[in-house]
């Protein structure tokens, strides 16, 4: 059954309402956790943008998240030489985190997409990058090495330090909502249509005169920037960055969230991240080491039998 427009809108509002009302349950611990999961959700949406909407399978998506987080941490901690005073503020941190990730994605995308890499090749090359960057981060002592950087300053806007857990929760939720609306709008724009055309039939799109490599680079930059922003927020929310958030394991996790949730729908990816993390919080104590194994096998099963994800079919407006 194809859900109607109204139906979908209601579902989306219900999800928003559940999130918005959650802190009223008074469970502060879970609210703090949910703040972090919402950041993961933003990260998952950025992958959905690349993978589900543009057909770019990125196995090393944590590189963007990680670079964003490290740039944010280094700038706001005043560890970048020559950056003092205003230049260590949250504003500069956020802007530079996003810009540097966008630039990184631009350079990377130029090599990858003009190298005509696509599909699994692209996936594994990005995977290799994330493994390498993780090793670089572990071995680079100035940025904390294996232990990472602690005491990253909290978000601070005009002297308002967003540290109180409810304020932080609603701030992150608002950012998530804003980014969701932005990405959703973007994919409904002519650009989104072009991306879908390239995803579905690249050769045909090129015959219509679209330079598919340039479009892919563009969406790579946008998706990367959103992931970078998520990373920057993550650094301030957890006040901590470490090499794991740039590496292979985390890239794997986000891919599983998005695949389980449903890569073709932004909100489904978002929910995939949040739900898997919530399950993990409860089940990993119970199942210890078996949790990851079960998650891996569940992932295989979902790829085989539910290629559109668990929430994907529920929330999709495409048949």
């Amino acid at each position: 059954m194809k859900p109607s427009r109204f139906h979908r809108l209601v579902l989306r509002l219900v999800v928003l309402l559940i999130f918005a009302l959650f802190p009223l349950t008074g469970n502060d611990y879970l609210t703090v956790q949910l703040t972090q999961y919402t950041v993961y959700g933003i990260f998952a949406m950025s992958l959905s943008l690349l993978w589900g909407y543009a057909g770019i399978l990125c196995f090393g998506h944590a590189i963007f998240f990680g670079v964003g987080a490290y740039v944010m941490a280094l700038i706001t901690k005043g560890m970048v030489p020559g950056f003092t005073g205003f230049l260590t503020s949250t504003w500069v941190g956020l802007v530079l985190a996003v810009l540097s990730v966008a630039f990184f994605a631009l350079v990377l995308g130029y090599f990858l997409f003009y190298g005509r890499l696509s599909g699994p090749y692209l996936g594994i090359v990005t995977l290799a990058i994330s493994v390498i960057l993780e090793r670089v981060a572990v071995n680079w002592y100035y940025i904390g090495g294996f232990n990472g950087l602690t005491e990253v300053p909290a978000l601070n806007f005009f002297g308002w330090e967003v540290r109180e857990l409810h304020a932080l929760f609603y701030f992150i939720l608002a950012v998530a909502l804003g980014l969701y609306l932005f990405c959703d709008r973007l994919m409904r724009s002519p650009l989104g249509t072009t991306m879908a055309a390239i995803r579905d039939n690249e050769t045909r799109a090129e015959f219509f005169g679209y330079n598919s490599a340039n479009y892919k680079i563009l969406i790579f930059c946008i998706g990367g920037s959103v992931a970078g922003l998520a990373g920057a927020l993550f650094a301030t929310v957890t006040e901590f960055v470490s090499p794991t958030i740039i590496g292979f394991g985390f890239s794997t996790e986000v891919l599983i969230w998005v695949a389980l949730g449903g890569k073709e729908v932004l909100l489904a990816s978002f929910l995939g991240a949040v739900v898997v993390r919530i399950l993990e919080a409860f089940l990993s104590d119970l199942l210890t080491y078996y949790w990851i194994m079960i998650l891996g096998l569940f992932f295989v099963v979902s790829v085989m039998f539910f290629p559109r994800g668990i929430f994907g079919s529920l929330l999709s407006d495409r048949k």
Partner: protein, 285 residues
Amino acid sequence: MDLPVQILNSLNYILVLILVAMGLAIIFGLMRVINMAHGEFFLLGAYTVVLTDQAGLGFWLGLLLAPILVGGIGMVIEYICIRHLYRRFLDTILATWGLSIAIKQLIIIVFGPAGLMIKPPLPQMVSFMGIEYPSYRLFIMAVALVTIGLTFYIFLKTDFGLGARAVIDNRDMAAVLGINTRKMYRTTFTFGSALAGLAGAVMAPLMSCDPQMGLGFFIPAFLAILTGGTGTLAGVLVGGGAVGGADSLISFLYSPVVSQIVVFSMVIVVIRIRPQGLLGTKSGR
């Protein structure tokens, strides 16, 4: 460490890398499946040896058992999972990735996350041309060379190889001409898995076996295929030589981290200039 020893070590690494990459390349060439669990097959091979070593049965039995066991596991995986995904190219790499996570975690559950060492099977040193060299490393090279030679023989000289190359060139035409592609797929997947298992088993005494070691071979092996080009077995030799040689040389001169960065950048530049790889002819990507 002096230079001749280092060159031999590089050669050693290159040969094992080619062994891993060859399994990956054959599976990819024939089935269009990128087996993300290939590193974990390597891992399973290594841990088979660890298991027989711990059980007191010794290294040699493990070496013999590893390709058989891993090949069998490959066959089962093909039957249960991969078989259903042939028409969905991208999904196979996700599915095999899920499998790789599960297998790696299974190893962690059974053997623990720490590195395990096994007794060196051939502790003697051999001296020739004025240098001392561990005889076990020479043994590895011999095993790898023989296996690589055998694989080439199978693919270039036997009926099976002829059929396999026909499938690589044009699968539909091959199927029309009466080649049982399904059976071919299963054999290939089993064979490729067995190669990875063997590579893991021979490498086990040289490194501490930990659950992450599979990835450490999977990525260079994949880069080797990208560099050399898919579609021909010779591409794997060239790619393996280039990636493995550069990797071990730069690790020796600077550090493993620098070498990873340099090798990776090299590969990226190569595929930017020659997207089909150094020896590739098809634009089959």
